[in-house]
C-alpha cells in the first residue's frame, strides 16, 4: 500500500519539481534578456547555472525516497515494538483474524458446493426425494425418509410419473488395491443410479441394472474421478483391476465423470458399489431384501409433464 502511495507521490513530486524549475528558468531568462543578453546566450547561461537537469531531478528524488524509506523502517520498528509490548492483545487480534478468515473460507466453500456446483447432473430440478406419508411403522436408521431396497425396486417398475427411480445409501468400506486396506467412503446404489442421474463415465462403464440383480452376484465397483486420480495415479488400465472391499474381491469396471461428486453436499463417495453387493459391503448386513429394513434414500426423476403435486398424490 505504502509502496503504491509512494509511487504516486514520486510521480507528483517529479511533476512538481519540473514546474518549479521551469519557473526558475523562465524568470532567469527574462531577467538576463532584460539586462541586454541575447536569447541564445541567456539560455546557455541558465543551463550552465542549473547544471544537469537530470542530475538535479535524481538528487531531489533520492532525498524523498530516502525519507520514505526511513519512515517505512520506523513504522516497521514501531509495529514490532507494539506487538512485543502487548502479546496478549496481539494474540487476541491474530486469533480473531484467524477465526474470521476461517469462518469466511468455510462459508465460501459451502456456498461454492451448494450454489455454484449444484448437482452436476442432467436437469437436477426434476429430481425428487421420496418420503413417507403417515405413521412410522418400522425401525429406521435415524432419518425419516429412508426406505427399504424392495420398495426401491417396486418404484423402479412404475413408469407413470418417473423417468427413472434410484436408491442409494452411504457406507464406509475397507478398500484395498493390493496394499494396506483403507477406510473409504462408498455409496451403495441401485442399478438405475447413474442412468437416472445422467452421469457419463470418464473411463470404462458405469453401473447398470445388470449389476444389481441377484444379491452377491456382481462384484464390481465404479471409482470417483478424484479417487482414480489419487489412488490409481489416473492409470488408463485401472479398469479390470481387482480390488478388495471388506476382503471381498471386486473388479473396477469404470470411472465416473470428473464433475460428478455424488448427490450429497459435503459427502463425496470414492467408490460406488451395486446395492446387490450390500451384504459384502456392510459386514453383518443380511436383510437387504427385507421390506422393513429401511436404509436407503430413494430419488426419482419426474417425467417432463408431471408436476411434483401430481406425483405426490
Amino acid at each position: 500500500m505504502k509502496r503504491i502511495l509512494n509511487w504516486f507521490r514520486l510521480r507528483r513530486l517529479a511533476g512538481d519539481l519540473d514546474r518549479e524549475l521551469q519557473y526558475h528558468i523562465d524568470r532567469r531568462m527574462a531577467d538576463l534578456i532584460h539586462s541586454g543578453l541575447p536569447e541564445p546566450e541567456a539560455r546557455r547561461r541558465v543551463a550552465l547555472e542549473l547544471g544537469g537537469a537530470t542530475q538535479l531531478r535524481e538528487e531531489v528524488r533520492d532525498i524523498w525516497l530516502n525519507r520514505w524509506l526511513q519512515d517505512f523502517v520506523h513504522d516497521l520498528r514501531f509495529s514490532a515494538r507494539s506487538i512485543l509490548r502487548s502479546p496478549s492483545f496481539t494474540a487476541t487480534a491474530v486469533l480473531s483474524l484467524a477465526l474470521g478468515i476461517g469462518a469466511t473460507t468455510a462459508l465460501y466453500s459451502l456456498i461454492d458446493q451448494i450454489v455454484l456446483r449444484a448437482l452436476p447432473v442432467d436437469h437436477a430440478e426434476r429430481l425428487v426425494l421420496f418420503d413417507w406419508n403417515g405413521e412410522q411403522l418400522a425401525e429406521t436408521f435415524g432419518s425419516d425418509n429412508l426406505m427399504s431396497y424392495p420398495i426401491c425396486r417396486d418404484l423402479q417398475q412404475q413408469k407413470q410419473f418417473f423417468d427413472g427411480v434410484f436408491c442409494c445409501a452411504a457406507a464406509t468400506v475397507n478398500f484395498s488395491t493390493g496394499g494396506e486396506p483403507r477406510l473409504t467412503a462408498a455409496e451403495l446404489v441401485s442399478g438405475t443410479y447413474f442412468s437416472t442421474l445422467g452421469v457419463s463415465p470418464a473411463l470404462g462403464r458405469l453401473l447398470t441394472m445388470d449389476d444389481d440383480q441377484v444379491p452377491g452376484s456382481s462384484p464390481v465397483v465404479v471409482l470417483s474421478y478424484d479417487f482414480w486420480k489419487n489412488q490409481f495415479g489416473a492409470a488408463q488400465d485401472a479398469v479390470g483391476r481387482k480390488v478388495l472391499v471388506n476382503q471381498h474381491a471386486m473388479t473396477v469396471v469404470g470411472v465416473a465423470a470428473a464433475t460428478f461428486h455424488g448427490i450429497d453436499v459435503g459427502e463425496v463417495p470414492s467408490v460406488w458399489i451395486p446395492a446387490a453387493m450390500s451384504a459384502q459391503s456392510i459386514p453383518g448386513f443380511e436383510t437387504m431384501l427385507d421390506r422393513r429394513t429401511r436404509w436407503m434414500q430413494i430419488l426419482g426423476r419426474l417425467k417432463q409433464n408431471v408436476s411434483l403435486a401430481e406425483a405426490k398424490t
Binding site: 512538481d16 519539481l17 514546474r19 518549479e20 524549475l21 519557473y23 526558475h24 524568470r27 532567469r28 547555472e49 542549473l50 547544471g51 544537469g52 542530475q55 538535479l56 538528487e59 531531489v60 532525498i63 524523498w64 525519507r67
Partner: protein, 113 residues
C-alpha cells in the same frame, strides 16, 4: 568572474536559506536572487545545488512549501520556515558564531606571537 568569487562552504547553504526565509516566504528563484544580493557577489551559489537543498530542508520539516501566485502573476512554489525551522536556524547561527569565534581566536593567537 568565477575567480573573484569562492564557492559556498559545505553546510552553510542550508543556514543561508533558513536565514533568508526567516524574513519572509519566497520561491526558489527569489531565494537565488536574495543570495546573490546578500552575498554581494562574493559567494558563488551553484543554483543546481539550491533546489536539492530546498527539498532536503522541506523533507526535514524545517520548511513547508505552497504553490501560490507570484509577483509576475504566475504560480510558483513558495517556501516558508516552520516552527522547527526557526529553532534550527537559531541553533545553526549559535554554532556558527562559536565556530568562527574559535577560529578567530586561533588566528589572533598566531598574530600575537
Amino acid at each position: 568572474m568565477p575567480s573573484s568569487r569562492f564557492p559556498i562552504p559545505q553546510g552553510t547553504l542550508d543556514m543561508l536559506i533558513l536565514q533568508i526565509l526567516s524574513l519572509e516566504p519566497a520561491h526558489g528563484y527569489g531565494i537565488a536572487q536574495r543570495l546573490e544580493q546578500i552575498s554581494k557577489s562574493v559567494v558563488q551559489v551553484n543554483q543546481g545545488s539550491l533546489y536539492p537543498a530546498l527539498h532536503r530542508l522541506e523533507q526535514r520539516g524545517w520548511l513547508k512549501a505552497d504553490w501560490k501566485e507570484s509577483e509576475t502573476g504566475r504560480e510558483a512554489k513558495f517556501y516558508s520556515l516552520t516552527r522547527s525551522g526557526h529553532k534550527q536556524l537559531r541553533s545553526e547561527i549559535d554554532s556558527w558564531v562559536r565556530l568562527t569565534g574559535a577560529v578567530q581566536l586561533i588566528f589572533d593567537e598566531g598574530a600575537a606571537q
